[in-house]
Amino acid sequence: MRFINRRPTRAWRVLLGVLPFLLLAGIYLAASKTRLEINPNDKLLPAPATMATSMQRMAFEPNRRSGDYLLLTDTIGSLRRLGTGVAVATVLGLVVGLASGGLPTVAAGLAPLLTVLSLVPTLALLPILFIVFGLGELSKVALIVIGTAPFIAREIQQRTREIPIEQIVKAQTLGANTLQTLCRVLLPQILPRLIDAVRLSLGAAWLFLIAAEAIASTDGLGYRVFLVRRYLAMDVILPYVAWITVLAYLFDSGLRALNRRLFPWANPA
């Protein structure tokens, strides 16, 4: 059988999927072992046991100076910023996207602005945000909002325009006015797309969060990673990066499950 027609069985698929992870872990372990044999104080590729000890200290022992459980406070701090930023961006993106996707007059006023805004390199705005909003929470949340809202708005605008015109005409022949058409025909059909748009923008949101925390913060996952960099503390950085990845994965799959559950009609089997 030609390779292009070959489909792995379920067992093979799982095996093939796990293989790269095992391979990477194996390479890391081997490299770490070799380096530590040459120099037991090597910090670059810490042994799993060292990382476990460090994370045990970060997660389950109160910090000697502040009394906080650092992993917990860092996670809460970061998630609060990320959550606030993404929530605000989602609402903004939905309202702007739906209005400009569904109402040609609003689109004429907003579409060019949106196009320009989504081209502004967001990170270059960070200094401006720090100057305008200070170094507190607001500037970090604002960065996430500015970075993701235009993307969500454009995505929603596009998806709204893809809804067949027949549906909008049909609603009107059933007596719907503009607001009713937006609320009962366009909005519900766009919600699954909104969740997809948020999923896609989460990667960027994390990027902006960590960038903002790295520059000015007193807690947060990004702050910690950049703080301990000064001591070359790879035993903390690597598990932190893994933890951030796990969180990102959980949000992504959580949103996907939510989408399937809430909108069965949008995901026909």
């Binding site: 049909k170 609603a171 059933l174 007596g175 006015n177 949008a266």
Partner: protein, 275 residues
């Protein structure tokens, strides 16, 4: 032809062009209440455009369509229902909700939702109509779970629930199997009689056009410019009344019906030449 005072719809020297492309020209006729007009003709000869003019999503470049003596509104409204070939029903609503929405838009508040007793009454009316069209067992299903025929039944139920005066059908059965089509025809005729509708139906199926309609319009171009195929638009070249009693053997009505107007020069009798 119907006398002007009994006419519900009067089409007065209607011309329609999209830029340089002339689609319709010199349409001149009247339609009485409760007629069932079937529109046939080659692809791209303006049948669907004519439907859109009735619907209000397109404006004529010249002339006018009058409904009860007033120009037809320039946007879709509840007096003119429509069933498209596809995308007619709302994919995010169940069968029952799809039909109920028709009334909720009119009675509900800014968001088009009803609550409590008013909502129950609407759902009851919708259920009754859905049972009538044969969808009583599918109330909670979503459109993607329905067959093509069931989906069109749903679209028709949705369109007639709140009693439009005019029902526009844009090739509603074009994508259905022949067997299912016959069932749909029976349903359509029943609803047309029961609900006192005035129907305009675009179709490619001549048998369908003859068996359903009380009147058949053939759209065609009568003037041709070989160097500029888009210079002239189509018009109604044949306007055939169909005798209801002979509807079962409809195909013969073309040749044998004595009342059928068969103009030798098509536009001269049925459509007024005005230019």
């Amino acid at each position: 032809m119907n006398a002007p005072d009994t006419a519900m719809i009067a089409i007065d020297n209607l011309w329609m062009a999209f830029g340089e492309r002339q689609v319709l020209e010199r349409l001149q006729t009247t339609v009485a209440e409760r007629e069932f007009v079937t529109l046939v003709g080659a692809s791209g000869c303006g049948k669907s455009t004519f439907l859109k003019l009735l619907l209000g999503t397109e404006r004529p470049t010249r002339g006018a369509i009058r409904l009860d003596g007033r120009p037809i509104p320039a946007e879709p409204g509840p007096d003119r229902g429509i069933v498209f070939q596809a995308y007619s029903v709302f994919p995010h609503l169940s069968v029952l909700q799809n039909v109920a929405a028709a009334r909720e838009f009119r009675l509900g508040g800014p968001s088009g939702h009803l609550f409590g007793r008013a909502r129950r009454e609407v759902l009851d009316a919708a259920t009754e109509l859905l049972q009538r069209v044969g969808l009583g067992d599918a109330l909670q299903r979503y459109p993607h779970e329905l067959s093509g025929g069931m989906r069109q039944r749903l679209a028709i139920a949705q369109a007639v629930l709140d009693q439009p005066r005019i029902l526009l059908l844009d090739e509603p059965f074009g994508a259905l199997d022949p067997g299912i089509r016959a069932d749909m025809h029976a349903l359509m005729l029943d609803l047309w009689r029961e609900r006192a509708l005035t129907v305009f139906m675009v179709t490619h199926d001549l048998t369908e056009a003859f068996s359903l309609g009380t009147r058949l319009w053939v759209f065609d171009r009568v003037r041709h410019d070989p160097h500029q195929p888009d210079a002239y638009g189509a018009t109604i070249t044949y306007d055939l009344p169909i005798d209801a009693s002979r509807r079962s053997s409809g195909a013969q009505a073309t040749s044998g019906d004595p009342v059928a107007r068969h103009p030798a020069r098509p536009p001269s009798t049925t459509t007024g030449v005005t230019s």
